[in-house]
């Protein structure tokens, strides 16, 4: 007997299904795959996270401390999602960053049970439900004080690039001359080849973190009169590498040490630019706000349409509070104007509009 008799010639068209890539979420706005930062509030203001294949530049605060916290969260989220991680740094040993990641925290869900509830006559279907916070954060929270113990299987997913790791640096002969940059790009290429991320079917992604790119350790400024184009050329090459593979790159730059035109050029090149400013830098602002610093979204490029991506309510300037257990980003607001007698005398000449009575609150 014939086993399969075809009755009709209809064939269902089966699209090759995309493998679900670990650690990504489809964005509601653009349908791009977005990679979480590890900080849920940052994900919320950048539409779910970094698009896969993009280059994010973080302009560091003055001592780089908050930028380092953000890179730790980024890598910790990658470790939780079992992504591949590559840490590159010339300032310090790159293994230090990977060995001191924060560990995830599972917060106890607060469920408010209504006590003494009357029987609901109209909304009786809701009787057995408990009140839940509608703004429950979806995502991981990390605790910086508890170091993350990485399981052995995941240690194979790590790679580094740094001073001790790379011997034999040769200067380039074309317009891209800096040997550090060339060896970094080569190391990234090798990592991608090793983990087969450019095949198009890999279910995992690579998170690349370059710390303090452009600091004097990178030896960019040999020719003082002209701008170092190796800096921008490397950023552009890095962007081209991550765009065609399952990878995302986070580069932190000490923008106060660099030539301002170089910083503005790198803003044009990158896809997402975030600037961190700690309030330590600006003593006048310290009493005005109760946040630890200011986070500004200098640029969030939309890779699929013309519509600009603005943050919540159209603002791009936010304040952040960084504690050991939380990194919270919120809208800026002035603290309530309470008459306080404890204003310190050194603020008397700071605010231009303030009266001579050395009040620290803005008085309009």
């Amino acid at each position: 007997m014939a086993a399969n008799i075809k009755i009709s010639s209809f064939q269902k068209r089966i699209k090759p299904s995309n493998p679900n890539i670990l650690g990504t979420k489809i964005s509601a706005v653009n349908s791009t795959l977005n990679v979480s930062f590890g900080v849920t509030s940052l994900d919320q203001i950048i539409d779910g996270g970094l698009p896969l294949g993009s280059l994010c530049v973080v302009e560091e605060d003055i001592y780089g401390s908050y930028a380092k916290i953000i890179t730790k969260y980024f890598l910790a989220e990658g470790a939780m999602q079992k992504n591949f991680l590559l840490s590159a740094s010339l300032n310090e040993n790159p293994w230090d960053l990977l060995n001191n990641l924060p560990s995830p925290v599972t917060e106890p869900r607060e469920t408010n049970i209504i006590e003494n509830r009357e029987e609901l006559k109209i909304a009786w279907r809701y009787e057995n439900l408990t009140l839940e916070d509608n703004n429950q954060r979806l995502g991981n929270a990390f605790d910086l004080s508890i170091p993350y113990v990485m399981p052995e299987t995941q240690k194979a997913n790590l790679a580094v690039w740094g001073e001790t790791v790379t011997p034999n640096l040769q200067r380039g002969t074309g317009t891209l001359k800096n040997s550090n940059c060339l060896s970094l790009l080569k190391a990234i290429e090798e990592a991608i080849k090793k983990w087969e991320l450019d095949s198009g079917t890999s279910p995992n992604l690579l998170r690349i973190v370059v710390s303090s790119f452009g600091s004097p350790f990178w030896q960019f400024d040999e020719n003082k009169s002209s701008l170092s184009t190796d800096f921008t050329a490397t950023l552009l090459l890095l962007k081209s590498i991550v765009r065609s593979t399952n990878a995302v790159a986070l580069v932190t730059i000490p923008h106060q040490l660099l030539n301002q035109s170089l910083v503005s050029r790198s803003r044009h090149l990158a896809d997402v630019v975030i600037q961190l400013k700690s309030l330590r830098e600006d003593p006048h602002l310290r009493d005005l706000m109760d946040v630890h610093g200011i986070l500004e979204l200098k640029k969030v490029a939309n890779l699929t349409s013309l519509k600009p991506i603005l943050g919540q309510d159209g603002t791009t300037t936010y304040g952040f509070k960084a504690t050991k257990r939380k990194f919270k980003i919120e809208k800026l607001h002035l603290p309530p104007a309470i008459d306080d007698d404890k204003s310190s005398p050194d603020h008397s000449s700071s605010l231009g509009c303030s009266s001579a009575a050395s009040k620290t609150n803005l008085d309009f």
């Binding site: 891209l176 081209s240 503005s264 050029r265 890779l303 349409s305 013309l306 519509k307 600009p308």
Partner: protein, 248 residues
């Protein structure tokens, strides 16, 4: 929606053949590059798209929102894409001399020659039909380490191509910042050679939901006019307004 942009630029009445357009971007002028690409595609012109910092997929994705299909045109040979992030990556992996970005890794006396020859060979195949050469973000060449004088020379060569074959048009976009002297000087020099100059700026006080930025349209040839507009970018296009009327 691309029609409102064309009306503002007066390109619905003035033919773009033989003209060169310069887009000076202070914050993000990509909407106008895309609008001009849409205009060229709608008119059935051949398109030679040269890009240094975006991938083909980006132009295709935005193009589909605006109503034209880049991949379709590429397969029918009505459009050619030169450069892009993919070529940049290949230049790093395999250093072959015909790659336009090979100057990054191997010394060359005339670094942009490969790029110009690639564009010229495409154009020579199209001299009978109307075509547009669109170069996106010329300042990326400066970022890659090319001297400004080489970039100017390259622009002059492309410009002369358009003037020789009078049914072609050239669109060049260049991103500037006031702090960067090199790029500002380049853009001022290029604006003297162009027929239509679009200067795009963001809003002075930050970002807004109502408006994306301001545009100044300056014609160096026949209408000799200079106009200011405000514009807002939507998912499917750009709307232009007279200054102050966006919220009405």
């Amino acid at each position: 929606m691309a029609d409102t942009v064309m009306k503002a630029l007066m390109l619905d009445k003035i033919q773009i053949d033989g003209k060169s357009v310069l887009i000076v971007q202070h914050s993000d002028g990509s909407p106008f590059v895309h609008s001009l690409l849409t205009h060229s595609a709608r008119q059935g012109r051949r398109i030679c798209l040269v890009s240094f910092s975006q991938s083909i997929g980006y132009y295709h994705n935005v193009g589909t929102r605006l109503g034209w299909n880049l991949n379709n045109l590429l397969s029918k040979n009505q459009a050619v894409f030169i450069g892009g992030l993919h070529t940049l990556k290949n230049s790093f992996q395999s250093q072959c001399p015909s790659n336009p970005f090979n100057f990054l890794f191997n010394p060359a006396s005339c670094p942009l020659q490969a790029l110009f020859l690639a564009i010229e060979s495409v154009i020579l195949g199209w001299i009978e039909q109307p075509f547009s050469v669109v170069i996106d973000e010329l300042d990326c060449l400066l970022n890659l380490g090319i001297e400004p004088k080489e970039v100017i020379k390259f622009f002059q060569q492309c410009h002369s191509l358009i003037q020789t074959y009078s049914n072609g048009s050239l669109v060049v976009s260049i991103g500037v910042t006031p702090l960067d002297k090199e790029i500002t000087q380049c853009s001022m020099l290029l604006s003297h050679w162009s027929d239509l100059i679009l200067t795009e700026r963001g809003l002075q006080t930050g970002k807004s939901r109502e408006l994306t930025g301001t545009l100044t349209v300056k014609w160096n040839v026949s209408p000799f006019s200079e106009q200011h507009f405000h514009f807002k970018c939507f998912d499917r296009g750009v709307k232009m307004f007279a200054p102050g009327t966006a919220v009405l």
